[in-house]
Symmetry: C2
C-alpha cells in the first residue's frame, strides 16, 4: 500500500490532532465523477447511498455531478439531508412505521419527495396508514442472494403490494450484499441483482403496478448493472477502503480517506497508535488480515484493537518512532466515518488551508 | 439469559423508537453502590473510568457514592467532564502533548486537578514542556502483562521520570487487560497488577519520587486489588455486558444496559433486527458466540451484522414476529454507548416517565 495520497507529500502532519479522518479532495472528486460517468454510460439514474459519508458537502458534490437523488439507511439520516435542502430521498431499508417513527415519516413526506423500502405486507399496511395522502411512494425490496432482507418470490411481492393499498408502489430494489463475500464477484452478483428485480417487477407489472424504478447496486456491482435496471445506489465508492481494494472493486490509488494516527507508545516488539476500536471499528472481513493497512509500511500489521489503542507489530527495525503520524487505510470505511464528527479535507495545493467538513448524519441510526 | 430487567415487565415497549440503549436505573445504582462499597472495604480510592458511560449524570452518581475523581481515556473526554464541573481528572493513557493537544492540555490543567499518564521519556519531555508551572502531575504507566502500553522495567520507569524534569511524578498505574483473555482471570491478574506497580513504584521511591498513587484496575480485577495498591479504576461495572458475564466478573442480573431493537424483516429461517454494526459494534470476543445475547431467547443467535441490520437465526418456531421489540445484551458495552447519543433511563416505577440522558462525551476520541 503506497499509492494512497493524502494531500501533497510535502505537507507536514506532525501538528495534526489525531486520530483524524483525512480526505484527499482530488481523489474524492475523481471518484464521484467516475461513478457519475459510468451511470451515464449505462443510461442509469445514480442515487448514491450517503450512509458512507453522511456529509452534506459531499452529497452536494454528488448531486452537482448528476446524481438524481440520495439513498439513506434510516429515518434519522433522511431528516438530516432533508433539513439540508435535499428534496429527493429514498430510505432503502425495510422500514417499520411503528411508534415515534410513524410521525417522523409523515413529517418527512411533507417536506421531500420520499421513497420508502418495504418487504412485508405487515410493514406495508403500517406505511399505508401513516403515509396515505402524502406524496410518498414505496419500493419493494427483493432478496437477490444476500439472505438478509427482501422478498424471495413474486408471490410475496404481490402480497406486499396488496398490503400497501392505495399508497403507490413504484418499483423494486435490491442490494447484492453477497458481492462482499469474496473477491471478483461484482459482475456475477450484478447479473443476479438484475435477474431478481426483473423477475419480481414483471409479476408486479402483470398485477397492475407500474414499476418505473428497478434499483440495484453496491460499490462492487454498480458498474455491472444488468439490462432492465433503471437506477444504481453505490455508497462506498466516494472513499473506497481496504475491503473494496481486496474485493477488486478498485485500485489502491482510488482510496480517498485515511485515518491519521500518532505513535503514542513503543514496546519491545510493537508500537501503539492512538486509533483504536472507537476510530477504526472492529470490522474484520474474512478476506483481510489485521484492522487496517498502514500506508507505506506493508510489513506492519494492526494486530489488536482496544477502545483507543491499536497494537501494531512487524519487523522491529521497521517499527515507527514515537510521535510519527501514520496513515491507515480502514478495512470498512462506513463505520469509521460514523465514529467521527468531522472529515479533514486535504486540498491538492499544499499551500491551501485545511477545510473541515461535518459528518452531519453522524450517529443517526434511528 | 433471562434475569435482565429493563424496567418493569409491565412496561409497553412497542412504541419505542429503536434501536435504543435502555438503562435499568435500579441495577445501575446498585452496581455503582456495590463497587463503591468494595473499594471502601479494601481501603482504596475509587476513580471510575467514564469511557464506558461518557455520561455526566452517571459520573455524578459515582461521585455521590464516594468516587474520588474520574478516569478518562482522551483529552476530549477530559474536556467534556471538566466543562461539566468535575475537578479531578486522570487521563489514563500514554498522552503525546503534540500539535493541538499541547494547548488543550494546558487549558485543562488550568481548569482542573489534572493527572496525565506517560510511558516514555520522549512523551514525558513533551508533557514537561507543556505543563511546567501548572498543577498537573504525571503517573507512569506500567505493563503488568497486557503487552499494550506501559514500561516493563524499573529502569525504564526511572528514565521516564527523569524525562519529566520538574513536573511532579506522583505514582504509577496499570491496566491488566489480559484479564479479558479468558474467564476467571480476575484474581490472578489482580495479583499481577499489584506486583507490577509495587516493583516499579519501589524503584521510583528509591530514586526520590514520592509515589502517593499506585493505581490498578479493570472490572474483572477491581475487586481483587493487591496489597500496596491505593486506587482502582474500573469502568464497565456500571452497566456490565455479555463479556463480563462470560468472564465471570458478574452474574447476568447485574447487566444494566440492553439494546432495544425491533424485528423489521422476516425470512424463511431468520429475522432482521434494526440494531446493526453501527449500534452493536462488531466486537466479538473469542469467548462469545454471536454479536449479542437476546434476552429470553437463548436459542436465537445474532449471526451477521451489517451497518443497520442484524441477521438472527434459530429454530423457526421461536423466531419473533415482525414489530416485536427485543432486548439485546451487547458483547462489549463501551463501543455501543459511544455509537449512540443518548441513554434511555428506565425507572423502577412502571408509572414513572422515561428520562433521557445524553452521552455527553460521545465520539470524543481525540
Amino acid at each position: 500500500v503506497t499509492d494512497v495520497r493524502f494531500g501533497s507529500p510535502d505537507r507536514d502532519w506532525s501538528t495534526l490532532d489525531t486520530p483524524a479522518l483525512l480526505v484527499d479532495e482530488v481523489t474524492l472528486v475523481e471518484n464521484i465523477e467516475a461513478m457519475a460517468s459510468r451511470a451515464r454510460e449505462l443510461g442509469l439514474a445514480l442515487r448514491p447511498h450517503v450512509k458512507t459519508h453522511k456529509c452534506v458537502e459531499i452529497a452536494r458534490l454528488q448531486i452537482a455531478h448528476g446524481a438524481e437523488g440520495l439513498t439513506v439507511a434510516t429515518i434519522g439520516e433522511a431528516e438530516v439531508f432533508a433539513s439540508a435542502g435535499f428534496t429527493d430521498l429514498f430510505i432503502a431499508y425495510p422500514v417499520r412505521a411503528q411508534g415515534a417513527k410513524a410521525q417522523r415519516l409523515k413529517d418527512l413526506a411533507a417536506a421531500v419527495a420520499l421513497r420508502v423500502g418495504v418487504d412485508s405486507s405487515s410493514s406495508a399496511e403500517l406505511l399505508a396508514d401513516c403515509l396515505r395522502g402524502t406524496s410518498a411512494s414505496l419500493l419493494i425490496e427483493v432478496d437477490s442472494g444476500g439472505s438478509r432482507s427482501g422478498v424471495r418470490t413474486p408471490k410475496e411481492a404481490l402480497a406486499v403490494a396488496h398490503g400497501a393499498g392505495d399508497l403507490p408502489v413504484i418499483g423494486v430494489f435490491t442490494h447484492g450484499g453477497h458481492s462482499y463475500r469474496e473477491p471478483g464477484q461484482g459482475p456475477a452478483v450484478g447479473a443476479e441483482e438484475g435477474i431478481a428485480v426483473r423477475r419480481v417487477a414483471a409479476a408486479l407489472r402483470r398485477g397492475g403496478y407500474p414499476m418505473s424504478v428497478l434499483s440495484t447496486g453496491s460499490t462492487p456491482t454498480a458498474g455491472h448493472a444488468a439490462a432492465g435496471v433503471t437506477e444504481i445506489r453505490p455508497g462506498t465508492y466516494v472513499f473506497n477502503d481496504r475491503l473494496q481494494v481486496g474485493l477488486g472493486s478498485c485500485e489502491i490509488d482510488r482510496v480517498a480517506l485515511v485515518v491519521a494516527a500518532t505513535v503514542v507508545s513503543r514496546g519491545v516488539d510493537h508500537v501503539v497508535l492512538d486509533a483504536g476500536a472507537k476510530t477504526l471499528s472492529k470490522d474484520l472481513p474474512g478476506v483481510l488480515d489485521g484492522y487496517g493497512a498502514i500506508v507505506g509500511r506493508d510489513r506492519l500489521r494492526i494486530e489488536r484493537l482496544y477502545d483507543h489503542h491499536a497494537v501494531v507489530t512487524g519487523p522491529v527495525a521497521e517499527l515507527p518512532g514515537l510521535g510519527e503520524v501514520l496513515a491507515v487505510v480502514p478495512n470498512h470505511v462506513c463505520p469509521v466515518v460514523d465514529l467521527d464528527t468531522e472529515l479533514v479535507l486535504v486540498p491538492a495545493d499544499p499551500e491551501a488551508g485545511i477545510v473541515r467538513w461535518t459528518v452531519d448524519a453522524h450517529s443517526r441510526s434511528r
